[in-house]
Amino acid sequence: MADTINGMPVEVWEKLQARFPGALHPAQPPERGDAEGYPQGGEHRMTRSVSRSVLQNRPRYEGVLVHSRHLLDVMRFLRDELGYVMLSSLTAVDYPEAVGQLPPHIDVVYHLFRLEGGGYVVLHVHTAREGAILPSLTPEFAAANLQEREVWDMFGVRFDGHPDLRRLLMWEGFDGFPLRKDWREAYFEEEHKPFRSRFPEGGSPLYAEERTPYHANVRYSREFAEHNLHVDEDFSEADALLYERMLSADRDTDKPLKTEEMILNMGPHHPSTHGVFRMAVRLDGETVRHLEPVFGYLHRCHEKIGERNTWLQNIPYTDRLDYINGMTNNLAYCLAMEKLLGWEVPERAEYIRVIMAELSRVVNHVLAAGFFSNEIGMYFTGSLYALEERELVLDLFEAAAGGRMMFNYMRPGGIARDLPEGWIERARALVRGRLPKKVKQMQSFLLDNEIVRARSVNVGMLSAHDAIASGVSGPVLRACGVRYDIRRAEPYGIYDRFAFDVVTREHGDAFDRVALRFDEVWESLRILEQALDAIPEGPIQSHRLSPKMLIPPGETYARIEAPKGELGFYLVSDGGANPYRYHIRATSLLNLTPLSALTRGVKIADVVSILGSIDLTMGEVDR
């Protein structure tokens, strides 16, 4: 890669400086902050005050600090002139105490990428914690829509000019902004794990569950508990804003025929959403006039819990994100940690990682196709074909990792366990013998089927331009004809050693999205064959890990091409045994950004077809 300054190409930095003289500052003053010689993997636990002083220097921070005044201009400049068209991740970090010369603030972080690869640009924008407000990017950058809503929901940063700033994951009326560092849950025990009450011997009477009033996982402000708890109020106001929005959005006032419209809720319990996803639909007869996705029914507070866990404790949690692809989730998180640690991974482990990731992709794609057939009404038949193959791959995973679905297999610097004897041969037999036959069969059953074609060809067309603008990635993006695959654009691990093609399709309709997944399965099988043949013997772990390992301070964003698209982890370390900030750029959530636009004007039966072709896992959407 070319020379970088603060994590971004020098040339970009120079152009930015030339265009906005004096407006931008490097997020990390170059002369300060030296992370070298920092104890790595040590056993001792840092005290709060030490980590605080480390944070003050903001060593190894990336990107540039932009004043909110210039944010939109800088974003436009980067997009239109330097080609940073993809606003991949938008999130925030809360600093409730002063950091160096900086007063307490919330740092909103933007990660931008180019289609051609070549590193990312990070923008940091600061805002005060009280009355936090920033200009919204949503009117011009569709990809910001859901992410800004999430930041508002979790951090309480208002985005001025956002057309629909409602809470994303929690409900309207929820008390507080949970990802702020000073917001504490009902079951709050102490700042960091492992909790003293349970570790090493435990026995402390201070279990949070018992100290909580009502003994339930709830917390009310004192005034509310005193005055309102007994008031017979209708608390179901949570949806009022949603319906208001639905009724006002894109009204067609000069319809020739006066018809009555209705609002229909699909979900959160609905057979087509495979999970708890809700779509509120405004219908005119059978035609969808407006669709609003409602998230958060599986919001498991992953990030808040993750910031309390130790670094290694988070690995099993990532399994539960996109629970079909535990392996790739592990991989992305471990890559992010390795980036912060600067660790290498031994050859054999690299190969095993690739093999696991590609097997996972095969499973995901056939399952996605199977469930798509569910969605369009082939009740369970298609999925049964897919599930049969899944079981065989799960057997391999189980033999290697010990679990069917939840693996906890990868580690920074390698993997947890070596493959058992005979594993490679079994995998080879599956990859060479059975899978190609079965995939071919499924492919022809599904894609040559007239009903499937009738239900999916020209349904839910997404243009390449819209797809890029709204932050879509993975097969959904490639089905629109964009040749973009992180395994090629910015190869991680050893992907640059394998011969495979980045397949695309042109139309961007539901059919192409399903068909493209089959094309990708063939490429994955190609990679698997090469990897299984070339895998060397050797060590599988480069460092000795300790449960309370420390990671030197800094921030990073690492991403992989997960089966569903770009899966990124944004980590901030303050040098402690726990992440200071742990954010997941969820593929499935971002892939749903264009859902509203895709479904406008279609028949209600096509909504499920479109949703099925996007392929989402709620665990990842809501986290």
Binding site: L169, M170, W171, G173, F174, D175, P178, E185, A186, Y187, E189, A208, E209, Y214, H215, A216, N217, V218, R219, Y220, S221, F224, N228, L229, H230, D232, E233, F235, S236, P268, H269, H270, P271, H274, G275, V276, G296, Y297, L298, H299, R300, C301, H302, K304, I305, R308, Y317, R320, Y323, S383, L384, L387, E388, R390, E391, R404, M405, M406, M618, G619
Partner: protein
């Protein structure tokens, strides 16, 4: 057909003429009821989180719950009689889960599948997580695991089946007189307002019952 009733009770029943003895079986109503119930337990097609995938795997070809007469998963709660809570119950979902439970016709059974449904599991501390579905609805069988293997789910279902043998038709809620008000739905305020947790402190508003 139904198995022969116990020898003790046969003596009080009328004689069966010899020519009918091969085609008539005598039993009790309770046993017929249990027999039918066991072999037609229809689960609700309801997926919450990761554990749902293991439930799907259980229904698929390798584990195949069709062997127990329960291959028909019903999407509508009105047609189901078993609710498998397979995943993390969030506060946002809690009111809806209770509503779904109330909509299932009696007799109904609940299986809490996995650590999350039992206690909140790995996500227990989460601010949006209900620490155990039994805070909301009554649970018949708990299956530990994260996720439980399909075999474990089958074991849980068989445990439920075994319970039917001890059930008398007289005790089943469905055959009781009086109106079933259902469980009051929790509400979403500044946090979850679960009337059951709050009981003793405040009564639930009457019309919510």
């Amino acid at each position: 057909m139904a198995r022969q009733s116990q020898a003790g009770s046969v003596s009080r029943l009328p004689e069966v003429p010899p020519e009918l003895q091969s085609s008539v079986n005598l039993t009790t109503l309770d046993q017929v009821y249990a027999w039918a119930r066991k072999r037609s337990l229809w689960p609700m097609l309801f997926g919450l989180a990761c554990c749902a995938f293991e439930m799907i795997a259980t229904a698929a070809s390798r584990y195949d719950t069709a062997r127990f007469g329960m291959e028909i998963m019903r999407a509508s709660p009105r047609q189901a009689d078993l609710l498998i809570v397979n995943g993390t119950v969030t506060k946002k979902m809690a009111p809806l889960l209770v509503r779904l439970y109330n909509q299932i016709a009696e007799p109904k059974y609940v299986i809490a599948m996995g650590a999350c449904a039992i206690s909140g599991g790995p996500f227990k501390e989460g601010y949006n997580v209900v620490s155990g579905v039994d805070r909301l609805i009554p649970v018949d069988v708990y299956i530990p695991g994260c996720p439980p293997r399909p075999e474990a789910l089958i074991h849980g279902i068989l445990t439920l089946d075994a319970r039917f043998d001890h059930e008398s038709i007289r005790d089943i809620r469905a055959f009781q007189t009086g109106e079933d008000k259902g469980i009051p739905e929790p509400a979403l305020g500044p946090d979850l307002l679960n009337w059951r947790d709050l009981e003793g402190l405040v009564g639930p508003p009457e019309e919510k019952r």
